[in-house]
Symmetry: C2
Subunit: 300 residues, 2 copies
């Protein structure tokens, strides 16, 4: 089942307590695509500037990602983000954002892409997300991400999106911000009451929580001792999760739960190095091996 | 298998964002004992002042807790603690501590208590913990708790205790403080290298991590939407865990894992009301029912 993702494609500059990397490959749609590509065909829609090296596109293509929806805009620059992680590697500060070509991103999906049944709306404004939803009338499973910025600046537009999608993925502080509730269990239920059939709250090093109609559950993060760069953890989580759903071709409660576990496993690899560096070293067998350890860890 | 606990017995005054309770029954040994009593015979050693109401002792006795080691000291006052929880109900501030009779607590165990094979050293200085260890030469399983105060003020004495015990239970910020490592997975291994056979790091609403010789695992907290007062969560976790170990009479890797899950379940009830109020309403069947939901939650 081909999986469509629309979101940011970026150069990230990342400062950690021990190391800094400048202008490495990043962006929500990139992390998502790569993570999902272990499981499913991925169709990426995004925009970059003319400073974009062809080798980045090539890297994604070699992984089987369809990049024909990645527009290179002449005379423009690619989205750039710079962030700094605190010693706990969980909290981070955004030092610089240059939206550049992403600011006016107004995606027009290639005809073939409009038939996708599985759609992920990665980082982008609710207005942009709505425009994408308008172009995928046959979608069977739509999941969106959101951010504090949109919760604050486009609250009404976000509420409209929430009524149109199947699932929402957001992090713990965003769930608290959106609902005004400091208890994550209550916050998750409140977000679900705003429209989506299910809600996933990402808790970084503490794992993720799922809120559906009939069940609520929490899964811990896989305890990797090697946390080098958490950038893209949330997007690779969503990519692993939705890639698995697309592979299985259904979103039953049981499949959703397995998918969430796969999301956690992919994210646990992603944080072990900068950019896509760790994900580039692994394959599906590595994911399955760690998944088996994860299942073992949760059996008693 | 009788279980011995030595620790604080206190009056707690608890301020939450919505409600305040004055001078309610608390203390590490009290929460621990009550939690462990669902599983095992418990022998409590502690000290209180003459302001201690007999009904508190009676409450513990009715639960099958042997309170013959609870000394009432004439002319003295019971340990008092006052704390205030932040809106997230995870972070708290200590507003007042009056050690009172606990300051000079120098436990002399009744002869029958010295034969206990399972021993928990609850809140108390490492010097006090060492003195208890001296009195239980036949102990087969000793687990201790510690606090930031002792890590800072009695570091060497704590290191000596760590070399004498089987297990250490501490919270995430304490593990970071003790090791200087912000990554909890690495911190857990480093604490274990200081002596204990196993280490449990409590993460409050995010569950707990286990570090043994051959395995490391994480278990999420049970997602209760009803968090009224987290006071005693760590002690009731330890009580549920060690009570189960005492019931089973062994500390094999498999039993330890089940025990940790029981600790999580007991703690999840404890936080649902002030003091022992929620634990007083439930029995072993309620624990087993929630445990079954918890196992279900972690199966996929």
């Amino acid at each position: 089942m081909p999986l469509l993702v629309v979101g940011s494609v970026a150069f990230d500059s990342v400062e950690t307590p021990t190391e800094t990397r400048e202008d490495v490959l990043g962006g929500s749609a990139v992390f998502f695509s790569y993570a999902a590509s272990y499981f499913s065909t991925v169709r990426l829609v995004g925009v970059v500037g003319e400073d974009w090296p062809a080798e980045h596109t090539e890297l994604l293509r070699r992984q089987g990602i369809d990049t024909s929806g990645l527009t290179v805009e002449a005379g423009a620059k690619t989205f750039r983000w710079r962030g700094k992680y605190q010693p706990n590697m969980n909290d981070r500060e955004t030092l610089e954002i240059h939206l550049n070509v992403f600011e006016k991103f107004d995606p027009v999906l290639p005809p073939e892409f409009r038939k996708c049944k599985y759609v992920f709306l990665a980082n982008g404004s609710p207005v942009l997300q709505s425009k994408v939803l308008d172009q995928v009338p046959d979608a069977e499973l739509t999941i969106a991400d959101t951010m504090d910025l949109w919760i604050q600046s486009q609250h009404d537009e976000l509420c409209q999106v929430l009524r149109r999608i199947d699932g929402l993925v957001l992090n713990d502080s965003e769930a608290k911000l959106l609902t005004g509730d400091e208890n994550l269990v209550r916050a998750g239920h409140k977000v679900r009451a705003m429209g989506p059939k299910f809600v996933v709250i990402k808790k970084g090093e503490h794992g993720a929580m799922f809120f559906g109609r009939d069940e609520t559950y929490v899964m811990p993060a896989y305890p990797t001792p090697q946390v080098v760069d958490p950038t893209g953890a949330g997007d690779s989580f969503a990519g692993g999760m939705m890639g698995y759903l697309a592979e299985r071709g259904n979103a039953s409660p049981q499949t959703l739960k397995q998918a969430m576990a796969y999301g956690i496993i992919v994210a646990s690899f992603n944080v072990e190095d900068f950019s896509l560096d760790r994900m580039r070293q692994i394959g599906r067998a590595d994911l399955d091996e760690r998944m088996s350890q994860y299942r073992q860890m949760l059996s008693f």
